[in-house]
């Protein structure tokens, strides 16, 4: 398998003979949607850990 780069320059890679607008908007849309799937649970977990920590610290003081 000897794969060569298919485009002569950067502008051609973006334009893709007129298909670039479809190809690149697919890539951007997909990246945005899938990245949100990754970030959403990470942020949710981080926020929850912080909240639980505050609650537990608070209840420790209050229980005394």
């Amino acid at each position: 398998m000897s794969m060569t780069f298919q485009f002569d320059n950067f502008a051609q890679l973006i334009f893709m003979d007129g298909h670039g607008v479809f190809v690149w908007s697919s890539v951007l849309l997909t990246s945005f949607l899938l990245l949100s799937l990754v970030l959403n649970p990470i942020l949710k977990r981080r926020k929850l850990l912080k909240k639980l920590k505050i609650e537990l610290m608070g209840s420790d003081n209050a229980s005394y």
Binding site: M3, Q6, F22, V23, S26, S36, R45, L48, L49
Partner: protein, 245 residues
């Protein structure tokens, strides 16, 4: 005795700990596969003889639709395990798989639409495959919202598990739609039973993307289930110890 692995896997604490160890490695592997696959697919694979460069959308469209289908199976199986063995972790996996499935199906439909415009001349065509994928999206949305529409979390989980299981009838319909009906979609280019009808320079980047998408699915599902475990188990001692560590 031989079932201990099953019960161990059903323990939220064990799942949380083991995924915490696997995730960093898995995430990097996924990242590299997706970057390599995308660079090869977008830049190095030869343009299609008939479709030109628009065919490069295949490197996102096909893997995301694979996962939309596989994810539905996973969701339904998790629901069935939850119903049969009353394993709460299985229900949580099912609950987390629904929104992930919605996103993968949406990616499949949107990229299909963006591929359809230059190829078929329209953003949407009521062809058998597209329509059955749209039904899959509605099934995912149904499972997602049914699970959240009960006062008791457990009733919602049971109801959406039933819907998920019933909805699996749509999967073989989607799979066979290109053979059963006359559609604009081409027939399967990759089959388990024969060599792919695709040039290797086009095929290998696709294979890399498919493996990358499978791993990505595993990563996002693990992340989502971990967050869900913390929410549901926040009153338990092991979570308290974890929080205060």
């Amino acid at each position: 005795m031989q079932w201990t692995w099953f019960h161990k896997f059903a323990s939220p604490k064990w799942f949380y700990q083991i995924t915490g160890k696997i995730l960093p490695f898995l995430a990097w592997l996924t990242f590299f596969l997706l970057v390599i696959g995308l660079v090869l697919g977008l830049g190095y694979a030869p343009a299609d003889a008939k479709q030109g460069n628009s065919f490069r959308i295949i490197y996102i469209h096909v893997p995301s639709n694979f996962l939309a289908l596989a994810g539905y199976f996973l969701m339904a199986i998790a629901g069935a395990i939850g119903l049969i063995w009353r394993i709460k972790l299985a229900f949580w996996v099912m609950k987390c798989a629904a929104p992930i499935g919605i996103v993968f199906t949406l990616v499949g439909l949107l990229t299909g639409s963006l591929w359809g415009k230059p190829t078929w001349g329209s953003f949407w065509v009521w062809d058998a495959r597209g329509t059955s994928m749209l039904i899959l999206l509605f099934l995912y949305v149904g499972v997602y919202s049914l699970g959240r529409s009960f006062h008791s979390a457990n009733s919602g989980e049971k109801a959406s598990a039933f819907l998920a299981i019933v909805g699996t009838v749509n999967i073989p319909i989607i799979y066979k739609s290109v053979d059963w009906w006359f559609t604009l979609h081409q027939r399967a280019t990759i089959k388990f039973t024969s060599a792919p009808s695709m040039h290797p320079d086009m095929f290998y980047p696709l294979l890399i993307m498919i493996v990358g998408f499978y791993l990505l699915y595993a990563v996002v599902l693990m992340l989502a289930v971990r967050a869900e475990i913390l929410v549901r188990e926040r009153k338990t001692n092991w979570v308290r110890t974890l929080v205060l560590k």
